[in-house]
């Protein structure tokens, strides 16, 4: 059995590009990657929002109403539903005057068990050191 760990680092804000959504959809694709792998092999994906990227996690996004597009918020919740580890940088959140109460923290309403983890950047650095490959979006 072998495991490859991929770290998806989202550092750019939403709506100006599709980076944040592509990061999440690619990470969520780890749920079906086994069709390309041998039995018991796996790819695990962690996602971290840092810098301006933390703005992607603000809750009550209205992109469906305004642009007829799924919100990044819904993608974050889907990631939690798929049991991805999702981190948000505490210092960068505070830089914008935001706190846990301003961002999506769980996906309870769709049956997700995982919570977003707001952590100091040091902890995100440790996560990155544990990854085999890092993908910056």
């Amino acid at each position: 059995m072998a495991t490859t760990k991929l770290g998806f680092i989202v550092q750019r804000p939403g709506l100006k590009s599709e980076n944040q959504k592509l990061a999440l959809t690619h990470a969520i694709a780890s749920q079906s990657v086994e069709i390309y792998l041998d039995d018991d092999d796996e790819v695990l994906c962690d996602v971290a929002f840092i810098g301006d990227g933390v703005l992607n996690c603000i809750k009550d996004q209205k992109t469906l109403e305004n642009y007829d597009l799924n919100s990044t918020e819904s993608h974050v919740k889907m990631g939690l539903l798929c049991d991805l580890n999702i981190f948000v940088c505490k210092e960068d959140l505070e830089k914008f005057g935001l706190s846990e109460s301003d961002i999506v923290m769980d996906a309870n309403e769709i049956g997700g068990d995982m919570d977003v983890r707001v952590v100091p950047y040091d902890e995100i650095t440790k996560m990155m050191e544990e990854m085999n490959h890092l993908l910056f979006f």
Partner: protein
């Protein structure tokens, strides 16, 4: 020899990131490495056939065809391509189209991975 997985999400026109990815692929193949090139988002533009070369815009159809003949494995994100109107019937011969899990599957046994995000 190793395996290199390159993901490029930048567009063919408006950026030279895809040019760099193709040149890096060529260099790695030349050294005998296996190379997987995944294009997603605007990067799927490289998968369309009948690109007309102008000197003011990047044009990678010819070098891409030459590299695929040497073993470069090119796959485009099917959903990203379809969203842009790039369909199976106007896809460059040799370019495969799969869902995003293909990229992760390629990353699984890659010795090195280079991810070039979109603009």
């Amino acid at each position: 020899m190793g395996k290199l997985t390159i993901g490029c999400f930048a567009s063919l026109v408006g950026s030279t990131n895809l040019d760099f990815a193709v040149k890096l692929s060529a260099a790695a193949l030349e050294k005998g490495h296996k190379v997987d090139l995944w294009v997603s988002g605007n990067g799927t533009m490289i998968s369309i056939e009948d690109q007309r070369p102008f000197k003011d815009y990047s044009s990678l159809q010819k070098p891409l065809e030459e590299l695929m003949a040497k073993g470069l494995n090119v796959t485009a994100c099917e959903a990203c391509a379809e969203a842009r109107g790039y369909h199976e019937n106007n896809t460059l011969e040799g370019v495969k189209r799969f869902s995003m899990d293909w990229y992760l599957g390629s990353a699984f046994d890659a010795d090195r991975m280079l991810h070039i995000g979109g603009e």
